[in-house]
C-alpha cells in the first residue's frame, strides 16, 4: 500500500543527460514540481523526465477525470454547506463545546502512541526481513503483511474477548498498533529492498561503523517511506470507529456517530465532521512538510546488486526470530486463535451457516461492486496524473485525493444528507453505499493505478501513436494491458479495504442488509463473542487472500 502521493524516485537528470537518459518509466512524482528541471537548457529534450506542461490532455480523458474529481469533492463541499446551514454561530457552539476539546485530545493522544508503535514494529521488522540473515525471511515478510486482513475491530474483539480487562486507551492502542503496522512495514521494506548497497558500502569505506551507517545513510532514506506510512496510520486512527467503540474509548469519530444517532438534527454531526476533516488535512500537510527536498535516487541505471544482509550470531538470531515471532503471534496467530476458540465453544444457536453464507455473499458482492466503480473512476485521473504535467493535471489528482482526508463517517454523513435531500430513492439502497465506498477509497485506487501506469514505458504509447492509434485506442490497447497487473492489485486492495469498512456501511447500508462487518459489530457490541466469531473469521479469511497476493506482488 503506497501512501498516496509519495514521490517516486526521480531519474537523475544532469543537464547533459540528453543522449543516454533512461527511456523507462520516468519519475513523475507529484512532489513540488518546480517547472521543467532547474537547468535553463534543454528542458523539453529529455525523454522520460519532465514533460513540458504544453501537452494537452485529450478530452477523452479530461471529461471523465473531471467527473471523478467533482464526485470526489462532492461529500466535502456538501458537508461544509450542511454544517453551516444553521449559521456559523451554531456550528461554532457545537464545535467549541467543552466535550469537543476532550474528545480531540483523546483522539490525538491515541494517534501519537499508535504511530510511534507502528514505526517501531514496522521499521524493525522491515530491517530484520530485508537486511539481516533472519531465517525464513519470506515467511516473516508474509506474516508481517497479513495483519492487513485483520480489521482493527476484529483485533479489538479478539483481545477484548480474551482479556476483558484491556479496554479504554491501552486496549485501543494495542489493537490499532497491531492492525496498522503493515502500513509502515510495506513501504519501508520496499525502500530497503530497492536501496543501492553501494551507498552503504561507501559509508563503511569512509570509516563509519555499521550502526553509524544505518543512522546516517540508511535511516534518512527511510524517512519518506516511514512518514508516508505513518500518515496512513494516523489517518486510520483518526477515522477509526470500530476498534475504539468496542474498546469503549471515546474519540472524535465515535462522538460523531453518537451525535448522528442521538438526534434527528444532523447539523451538529456535520459540524463535528468538518473538524475531523480539518485535522486530517493538517496531518496530510504535516507529512508533506517532513518529506524535505532531498530526492532519494540511485545514480545509475539498471538493477543494482541485492543489498547485503547482516550476518547474525546465534544470540542475535534467537533475539531477532523471537521478536518477529512475538509480533506475528500477537498480530496474526492470536486473533485467529481467539476466533477459532470462540467458534469451538459456540453452539448451534450461535452458529448459523445459512446466515453466514448469505452475509458473506452480500459482503463480497457489495465490495466487488465498490471496487469496480472505484477503479473505473480512478483510471482517467491516474493516467493523467502519470502522463501529464501542469496545473490542470495536478488539480484533478489532488481533488481525487479528497477522500484521503475524509474519514468514513463524514463521507457517510455527506451521502446521507445528499440522498435524503436530492436523491431520496437512493437512500438506504445499495448503490448509494457503493458510491460512498468509491468516494472513500478513490485515493487508494488512483495511487495504485498511477504507479502501474508509470511502470509502463511512455515510449510504448508513443510508438502506438506513431503507428496510427488515437489516444483512446492507445489507452485501451497498450496502456491498460501493460498496467493490468498493477490495476488488478489496486482493485484487490480496494476490495479488501471495502470489505473491512465499518462506519459508512453502518450508516448507509440498506435496511435489513448485513455485511460481515456489521454482523460482527452488532454481536460484539452485545458481548456475543461466540456469535460474532464466525463472521470475523470469514472476513479475515476472505480478506487474507488478496492481502497475501499483495505481499507477494511486492516482493
Amino acid at each position: 500500500m503506497n501512501p498516496p502521493g509519495r514521490p517516486s524516485p526521480q531519474p537523475p537528470a544532469p543537464p547533459e543527460a540528453d543522449a543516454p537518459a533512461d527511456t523507462g518509466a520516468g519519475g513523475t512524482g507529484d512532489g513540488p514540481a518546480r517547472g521543467p528541471a532547474g537547468a535553463p537548457h534543454a528542458p523539453a529534450g529529455r525523454r522520460g523526465s519532465h514533460r513540458p506542461a504544453r501537452r494537452r490532455v485529450p478530452l477523452i480523458l479530461l471529461v471523465p477525470a473531471t467527473v471523478t474529481a467533482l464526485f470526489a469533492l462532492l461529500p466535502l463541499v456538501y458537508l461544509v454547506i450542511r454544517a453551516l446551514e444553521r449559521g456559523p454561530a451554531f456550528a461554532w457552539d457545537v464545535v467549541a463545546a467543552d466535550r469537543t476539546a476532550g474528545l480531540l485530545s483523546n483522539s490525538l493522544r491515541l494517534t501519537v502512541v499508535v504511530v510511534a508503535a507502528t514505526w517501531v514494529l514496522g521499521i524493525s521488522l522491515a530491517w530484520l526481513t530485508e537486511r539481516t540473515a533472519l531465517p525464513a525471511p519470506r515467511l516473516w515478510a508474509v506474516l508481517a503483511t497479513l495483519p492487513l486482513a485483520v480489521p482493527s475491530y476484529v483485533m479489538s474483539f479478539s483481545w477484548l474477548s480474551a482479556f476483558p480487562g484491556v479496554r479504554g486507551f491501552a486496549g485501543a492502542a494495542i489493537a490499532l498498533s497491531l492492525a496498522c503496522f503493515p502500513y509502515v512495514y510495506l513501504p519501508v521494506a520496499a525502500v530497503l529492498r530497492g536501496m543501492d548497497p553501494a551507498q552503504e558500502e561507501a559509508a563503511r569505506s569512509l570509516g563509519h561503523g555499521p550502526w553509524r551507517t544505518f543512522r546516517t545513510v540508511t535511516l534518512p532514506q527511510l524517512r519518506p517511506a516511514a512518514a508516508g506510512g505513518g500518515l496512513l496510520v494516523a489517518l486510520y486512527v483518526m477515522s477509526d470507529f470500530g476498534a475504539v467503540s468496542l474498546m469503549r474509548y471515546d474519540t472524535f469519530t465515535r462522538a460523531i456517530h453518537t451525535s448522528y444517532r442521538a438526534s434527528f438534527d444532523r447539523t451538529p454531526a456535520a459540524a463535528l465532521g468538518c473538524v475531523l476533516v480539518l485535522i486530517t488535512v493538517l496531518l496530510v500537510v504535516a507529512e508533506r512538510r517532513t518529506r524535505g527536498r532531498a530526492r532519494y535516487a540511485r545514480a545509475g541505471r539498471g538493477t543494482a546488486r541485492p543489498p547485503l544482509r547482516l550476518p547474525l550470531g546465534p544470540w542475535a538470531r534467537a533475539a531477532a526470530t523471537g521478536w518477529a515471532g512475538l509480533v506475528a503471534l500477537a498480530a496474526v496467530a492470536f486473533p485467529v486463535g481467539t476466533l477459532c476458540y470462540w467458534i469451538a465453544v459456540g453452539n448451534s444457536a450461535t452458529w448459523q451457516p445459512a446466515a453466514l453464507l448469505e452475509t458473506a455473499w452480500a459482503t463480497v458482492g457489495v465490495a466487488a461492486a465498490g471496487a469496480a466503480l472505484t477503479v473505473l473512476l480512478a483510471l482517467p485521473v491516474a493516467v493523467i496524473a502519470a502522463r501529464y504535467r501542469g496545473g490542470l493535471a495536478r488539480v484533478l489528482e489532488q481533488a481525487s485525493f479528497a477522500g484521503h482526508a475524509l474519514p468514513g463517517i463524514t463521507v457517510a454523513l455527506a451521502f446521507v444528507f445528499l440522498a435524503v435531500r436530492y436523491a431520496n430513492p437512493l437512500y438506504q439502497e445499495w448503490p448509494l453505499l457503493v458510491i460512498a465506498y468509491a468516494a472513500l477509497f478513490l485515493p487508494l485506487a488512483v495511487t495504485a493505478i498511477r504507479a502501474a501506469v508509470l511502470q509502463a514505458p511512455e515510449s510504448l504509447e508513443e510508438a502506438a501513436r506513431s503507428l496510427g492509434r488515437g489516444p483512446l485506442r492507445t489507452l485501451r490497447e497498450v496502456t491498460v494491458p501493460l498496467a493490468a497487473p498493477g490495476i488488478a492489485a489496486g482493485a484487490a486492495l480496494t476490495f479488501v479495504v471495502i470489505m473491512k469498512e465499518l462506519p459508512a456501511t453502518l450508516l448507509l447500508r440498506p435496511t435489513g442488509m448485513e455485511t460481515l462487518a456489521t454482523r460482527l459489530w452488532t454481536h460484539t457490541d452485545n458481548f456475543a463473542f461466540a456469535a460474532a466469531a464466525p463472521y470475523a473469521l470469514t472476513l479475515v479469511l476472505i480478506a487474507a487472500v488478496p492481502s497475501y497476493l499483495l505481499g507477494r506482488h511486492r516482493s
Partner: protein, 376 residues
C-alpha cells in the same frame, strides 16, 4: 524532392530555447543523420516531427503536407511518421508478429499477416513472428522495431539513437542491416545520434546541430573534409585547430609553416572564409600530419604524449613555438614522450574566419582541440 521540410522551428521560450529557428530540408529516399552533442536539441527535433511536442513557432511539413505550423498540429497518429525508439519500445504483451502488424489497421487480417511476415523477412527475422519480445536479443528487438515502423509504409521514419543500447560488437552489423532495409523499402529516414562514427558511416547526409540550430548540413565527406567551423571540426572527428594568417595565392601561415588552402567550393558561404591578409582559423585532420626526422624537417617539436589505439596511435607533439598538435600515426609507434621529432603536413587545409578559441569555450565534448599558445 524534399520529403521533410522544417522552417524556422522554435521550441522553448527566451533563454531556455531548445530549438532556435531551425531550418532543414531532407530529401526523399535518403538517410539523414542529425548529429549533435547532448542538449543540442536533436531529440526535441525528433519529437516535434513525430508530433509528441508542439513547437512554439515555425513549421514542419512531411511529403508536402504541413503537419505542424501556425494553427496546425496534426496528432502523431495522423502524420504517417514511423519511429524507432532507443530501446525498441516493443509492446511486451504482443507477439513479434502482432507488434509488426500493429500499425496495419487499414489492411484485412490475411494481408496484415502477410505484410508482417514480409517485413520480418526484410530485417532477417523471418519465422520468429510467434516469439514474444522478451525472447529476442537486443539487436533482434531493434530489428523488429524497425520492421514495425516500416510496415505501414510511412512517409518518414525517425530513428532515435537506435543502436545506443547495444554493445559495440553488434552495432556494426545492425547498422548495415538497417541501411539495407531502408534502401530496400526506399524509405526516407532521419537518424538521431550523438555518435559521429555512426553518422559518418551510415548516413547519406549529416546535419550537425548546435544550440538548437543547424551548424552544418552536407554529405559525410563535406562535413568531415570541409567543416563549417572549428567546433564542427572538433565534434566530427579529431581536429587540429591553429590560428593562421592568410597569404596571397592560396597559402596560409601557421605554427606548422606555410600550408596550402583547399580551394573554395560552392557550399562554403563567403562569411565562413577569411579574406587575404586576415587572421583566421586553420583546420586540419591529425592524419594530415606525419612524424619525420627532426634533422630534415622545417617544423620540429617534442613528443609529449602517445595514445595507442591498435590500428593507429595519436601522438601529441608540442612545437618549439609552444603550440600542441595531434598527429595520427598509422600502425605501431616507435617514438615515446620526450623525444624530438619533425612534422610534415600533407594535403590542403581549411581556413575559416575568426579565432580558434571559440570551440573550447563552447565545451566540445571529448574532442581534442589543441589551443595555440595556451593563453588564448
Amino acid at each position: 524532392m524534399t520529403e521533410l521540410r522544417i522552417r524556422d522551428l522554435t521550441v522553448g521560450y527566451g533563454e531556455g530555447r531548445v530549438l532556435d529557428g531551425l531550418d532543414l530540408d531532407i530529401p526523399a529516399g535518403e538517410l539523414t543523420a542529425v548529429l549533435g552533442p547532448s542538449g543540442c536539441g536533436k531529440t526535441t527535433l525528433l519529437r516535434v516531427v513525430a508530433g509528441f511536442l508542439r513547437p512554439e513557432g515555425g513549421s514542419v511539413s512531411v511529403g508536402g503536407r504541413t503537419v505542424a505550423g501556425p494553427g496546425v498540429h496534426l496528432p502523431p497518429e495522423r502524420r504517417a511518421v514511423g519511429i524507432v525508439a532507443q530501446e525498441g519500445a516493443l509492446f511486451p504483451h504482443l507477439s513479434v508478429a502482432r507488434n509488426v502488424a500493429f500499425g496495419l489497421t487499414a489492411l484485412r487480417r490475411p494481408e496484415r499477416a502477410a505484410r508482417a511476415e514480409e517485413m520480418l523477412d526484410l530485417v532477417g527475422l523471418g519465422g520468429l513472428g510467434d516469439r514474444m519480445p522478451h525472447e529476442l536479443s537486443g539487436g533482434q528487438q531493434q530489428r523488429v522495431a524497425l520492421a514495425r515502423a516500416l510496415a505501414p509504409r510511412p512517409a518518414l521514419v525517425l530513428l532515435d539513437e537506435p543502436f545506443n543500447a547495444l554493445d559495440s560488437a553488434l552495432r556494426g552489423g545492425l547498422r548495415a542491416d538497417v541501411r539495407s532495409a531502408l534502401r530496400a523499402t526506399g524509405s526516407t529516414a532521419v537518424l538521431v545520434t550523438h555518435d559521429q562514427q555512426e553518422a559518418l558511416s551510415t548516413a547519406d547526409r549529416i546535419a550537425v546541430l548546435r544550440d538548437g540550430r543547424v551548424a552544418q548540413y552536407g554529405t559525410p565527406h563535406e562535413v568531415y573534409g570541409r567543416p563549417a567551423d572549428a567546433w564542427v571540426a572538433a565534434f566530427v572527428g579529431d581536429a587540429v585547430v591553429l590560428p593562421g594568417r592568410r597569404l596571397p595565392g592560396g597559402a596560409v601561415a601557421t605554427a606548422l609553416g606555410e600550408l596550402t588552402e583547399a580551394p573554395a567550393v560552392p557550399g562554403d558561404g563567403p562569411e565562413r572564409c577569411a579574406a587575404p591578409g586576415e587572421h583566421g582559423t586553420v583546420i586540419l585532420r591529425p592524419e594530415q600530419l606525419r612524424l619525420s626526422d627532426p634533422g630534415s624537417a622545417a617544423t620540429t617539436g617534442t613528443v609529449t604524449e602517445v595514445c595507442f589505439y591498435g590500428h593507429d596511435a595519436l601522438v601529441t607533439v608540442t612545437l618549439d613555438g609552444g603550440t600542441s598538435v595531434d598527429v595520427r600515426h598509422p600502425g605501431s609507434v616507435t617514438t615515446a614522450a620526450g623525444r624530438r621529432t619533425g612534422l610534415t603536413v600533407h594535403g590542403p587545409v581549411v581556413v575559416r574566419a575568426g579565432g580558434p578559441a571559440g570551440p573550447a569555450e563552447r565545451g566540445v565534448p571529448a574532442a581534442r582541440v589543441p589551443v595555440a599558445g595556451g593563453g588564448a
